[in-house]
């Protein structure tokens, strides 16, 4: 079972605890005692993967089953991969160092498009055939989940099936079906047909896709009776009843988010038109403060973490935030644990809360106005005003902060150059807030950092039909903004725009991109989320070798075109998306879910109604 030469290799690589296992709270079982071995893969480095909450939840839930042993595996860093390939070590799990190929399942969570090359690289390292069609009876079932699986078409050739929606709702059914199938002595295809009948499961090989002459999709139809014509996402209806880990693995090495996180709610009331998470996780479902306090207490006791985080898409929108933070602070102050709040909204920023929460450590503050002009903020339905930002920044400065970070996007639909100049003007106003206030310390200089990302149109958003700016246009816009930033208190950070375009291609891609991924993999593309590894030239070559034009995928779509993700039903209607896009064109806003229901359709997903915003 253990891998020959592993110890030798671990001595030679950096941060070997990323591979060696044995972390506190990692699960130890005897593989002989279980019926199912499930390898859960995060297709990026350990530091990124171990910061992901979803993996921890599913790991915990799978391991609660006495018949199942779930172990973890991650994309090895370059030095480790080199050693593994040299020594003939296949991809293995951290817990028992078992080759992934020996498992019954390889579950891969797909959090962002730029991990796709890692998916192929990990399959290749594991010695599992890359193409689902080439896998044999002894190979593991390769299962995808997470937000990118909502448009999994570019990956359709490499996965046996995908799970749409919240994994903890459906994973048990998949495991039960596996045991029944195994006992029935069926073939590989029989299991796939069996689970195709389960709500939320997409088996791409059971669908045929035909194309029009211009490359757009003509039809996408099931090729067997088991496959559903439409895949409906699964959700947890009552978050107070869902199992939340009472233990989290505590890594030895430093990871991106090294703290105990509790999940406050799922979904987001806001309906920003660029945001995929805000649509696919609908409707908003909250946990009660008592449940959260119990989760927090368990985690503090079982991990010893010195920091606790609240996790959600927009924590300041939690209805009982004050009650919750009061209760949590009583606990954390006693235990000398610091509480951290992520993503603040500009319009309901509470200084009092920030000061209480950050009693120990005064870190930087971040606000996300997303766009520079009011018109553009209305286009994207951000629903915050300049006044909101000025008030929040003034409050923060008067509370002793002298540094804020502002998040923006460029390349948004219906954008004009004056909207981009607006980003610089808004930042200048924030600087003024500091100097206009009588209560700030003028001996310290104020710092405003602009972090500007390039917009990527995503499936299941009102902007899913929108064109994406080319690399050249984005570069022009970045340069223009650079020229507009003339204040020495403002620092302008921008991201590579080439990676955004590639991300956009795969986000709205179809099955034809499978061969590009294969080619890119053979050219050596991997770890694309890392600047030191990303190589645009290789990707360009992969596209041109396959005769595929990126522009086909970044173009504007018409409302009648069949989109690759039309086969999936997230519970939010296409009509709602169209209405929102039409409103965007007129810069008309839509109230948030709590102000007024806009009838998106997600209410029908939540029959229990408890804790759900649709039934408040």
């Amino acid at each position: 079972m253990s891998i020959k030469n592993l110890d030798k290799v671990l001595k030679r690589v950096q941060k070997a605890t990323r591979y060696s296992g044995g972390e506190l709270n990692s699960v130890i079982k005897n593989p002989e005692d279980v019926k199912i071995r499930y390898a859960f893969a995060f297709p990026d480095t350990y530091e990124v993967g171990m910061s992901h909450l979803g993996m921890k939840i599913l790991y915990h839930i799978l391991n609660l089953r006495p018949d199942t042993y779930c172990e973890r595996t991650f994309a090895p860093w370059i030095d480790m991969e080199e050693e593994m390939r040299k020594e003939g070590i296949p991809l293995f799990t951290n817990e028992t160092h078992t080759p992934v190929k020996e498992f019954d399942f390889l579950g891969i969570t797909l959090q962002y498009e730029m991990c796709y090359s890692n998916v192929l690289n990990m399959l290749s390292l594991a010695g599992i055939p890359l193409l689902s069609s080439e896998r044999g009876e002894d190979d593991p079932f390769v299962n995808g989940g997470g937000p990118c699986s909502y448009n999994s078409e570019p990956l359709a050739d490499f996965f046996d099936f995908f799970t749409m929606g919240e994994g903890e709702e459906v994973i048990g059914e998949l495991m039960d079906a596996y045991i029944e199938w195994k006992e029935s002595g069926g073939k590989r295809i029989d299991y796939l047909k069996r689970i195709a009948k389960i709500e939320g499961i997409y088996v791409p090989s059971l669908y045929d896709v035909t194309y029009n002459g211009d490359g757009t999709i003509k039809s996408m139809t099931p090729n067997c009776p088991e496959a559903k014509p439409k895949i409906k996402k699964r959700i947890i209806e009552d978050l107070d009843k869902v199992i939340y880990p009472d233990k989290l693995i505590v890594p030895f090495c430093d990871i991106v988010h090294d703290r105990a996180n509790i999940e406050v709610f799922r979904g987001c009331i806001r309906g920003c038109r660029f945001c995929q998470a805000g649509m696919i996780y609908r409707p908003v479902r909250e946990k009660s403060p008592d449940t959260l306090l119990n989760d927090a207490c368990n985690l503090i006791n079982s991990t010893g973490y010195e920091e606790m985080g609240l996790s959600s898409l927009s924590t300041s929108d939690y209805t009982e935030l004050e009650t919750l933070t009061d209760k949590l602070l009583n606990l954390t102050e006693k235990e000398k644990v610091s509480l951290s709040l992520p993503s603040l909204r500009v319009d309901n920023f509470s200084l009092d809360l920030m000061q209480r929460v950050q009693k120990v450590r005064k870190s930087g503050l971040t606000f996300a106005p997303e766009a520079g002009s009011q018109r553009m903020r209305d286009v994207i339905n951000k629903n915050v005003s300049e006044e909101d930002l000025v008030n929040s920044a003034t409050l923060a400065f008067e509370g002793g902060w002298n540094s804020v970070k502002l998040y923006f996007m460029i390349g948004l639909p219906y954008e004009e150059m004056e909207d981009i100049a607006g980003i610089a003007r808004l930042a200048e106003k924030v600087v003024e807030c500091y100097y206009n206030s009588e209560k700030t310390n003028k001996r310290r200089a104020v710092n405003v950092t602009l972090s500007v990302a390039s917009f990527v149109p995503k499936p299941f958003t009102p902007f899913q039909w929108a064109p994406q700016d080319t690399m050249e246009t984005l570069a022009e816009k970045q340069l223009f903004l650079k020229g507009e930033v003339r204040n020495r208190h403002i620092k302008y950070n921008y991201h590579q725009n080439d990676i955004s375009v590639l991300e956009g291609v795969f986000a709205r891609g179809d099955r034809k991109l499978g061969k590009v991924l294969l080619r890119a993999h053979s050219l050596g593309c991997k770890l694309d989320g890392w600047n030191e590894c990303f190589n645009l030239e290789l990707w360009k070559q992969a596209f041109s070798d396959c005769g595929i034009d990126m522009a086909f995928y970044t173009r504007e779509r018409s409302y009648d075109e069949i989109l690759p993700w039309d086969i999936v039903d997230i519970g939010v209607s296409t009509q709602f998306m169209k209405n929102e896009n039409e409103k965007a064109k007129k810069a008309a806003t839509t109230p948030n879910c709590r102000e007024k229901c806009s009838g998106c359709g997600a209410a029908a997903l939540c029959k229990t109604k408890k804790g759900c915003v649709c039934f408040e």
Binding site: K8, L10, K11, K15, A16, T17, S20, G22, E23, L24, V250, F252, C253, D254, I300, N301, S302, T303, G304, Y305, E306, E335, K336, V360, R361
Partner: protein, 209 residues
């Protein structure tokens, strides 16, 4: 304040944990054990922990010493029991004592080195007046003489035992000695090695535990 000295071992399962990561890990274990930990003053309070001698990545040990400070006295057995209950596999407290620290007296350490190949003899190697090795420093590569920091090396049937200077005054790692052996003993190639710290001593070679 109540100071205690913990002797602990680190085995295979934690041998790749770096010293800094180990310090953080131990702080978290103290929290999980709900020991009445004394925290440092200042902006970012952290548990008061004093380590005798960092352990290099990849090494195992049975003689690690750590000083902890508690805000109230506790029976030694209880400290040991509560910590061992919450420590990850691969770290185990083997003794707890209180009183005056001998940590500062630390001067030598005994290492067991298991190499793929053992040298036939180290006599000639040790008879050298100086053993120069290249050491990377911030200002470039510097030549250093490690001979004064080697107290003894015994080649046994299946291992080597090295007593080397250790601590804040002078510290020599056995892997550096192995590198020097590869360089200076004719025809010798150690291959991969395993390192284990067995004992620590003061200047008079009396064991600290």
């Amino acid at each position: 304040m109540n100071n205690y000295y913990l002797t602990y071992e680190r085995t295979e399962k934690t041998k790749y944990v770096s010293h800094l990561d180990f310090v953080r890990m131990f702080g978290r274990a103290m929290r999980r054990a709900h020991l009445p930990i004394a925290f440092s003053e200042g902006f970012n309070p952290h548990p008061l922990l004093g380590f005798a001698l960092p352990l290099s990545v990849g090494y195992t040990s049975e003689c690690e010493i750590l000083e902890i400070t508690l805000t109230e006295p506790l029976p030694l057995k209880e400290i040991m029991g509560r910590l061992n209950e919450v420590l990850p596999q691969g770290v185990k407290i083997t003794a707890v004592s209180e009183g005056k620290s001998r940590m500062k007296a630390l001067d030598y350490a005994l290492y067991i080195v298991r190499a793929e190949n053992l040298p036939e003899s180290v006599e000639e190697f040790l008879s050298k007046e100086s053993i120069l090795i290249e050491k990377k420093t911030k200002s470039g590569i510097k030549e250093t003489d490690i001979r004064p920091d080697i107290k003894s090396i015994n080649v046994m049937q299946d291992r080597m035992e090295m007593v080397l200077r250790a601590g804040s005054r002078a510290n020599l790692k056995p892997e550096v000695v192995i590198n020097a052996m590869n360089k200076y003993i004719k025809g010798y190639e150690s291959g991969d090695c395993e390192y284990h710290r067995k004992k620590i001593f003061d200047a008079q070679m009396s064991e600290i535990n």
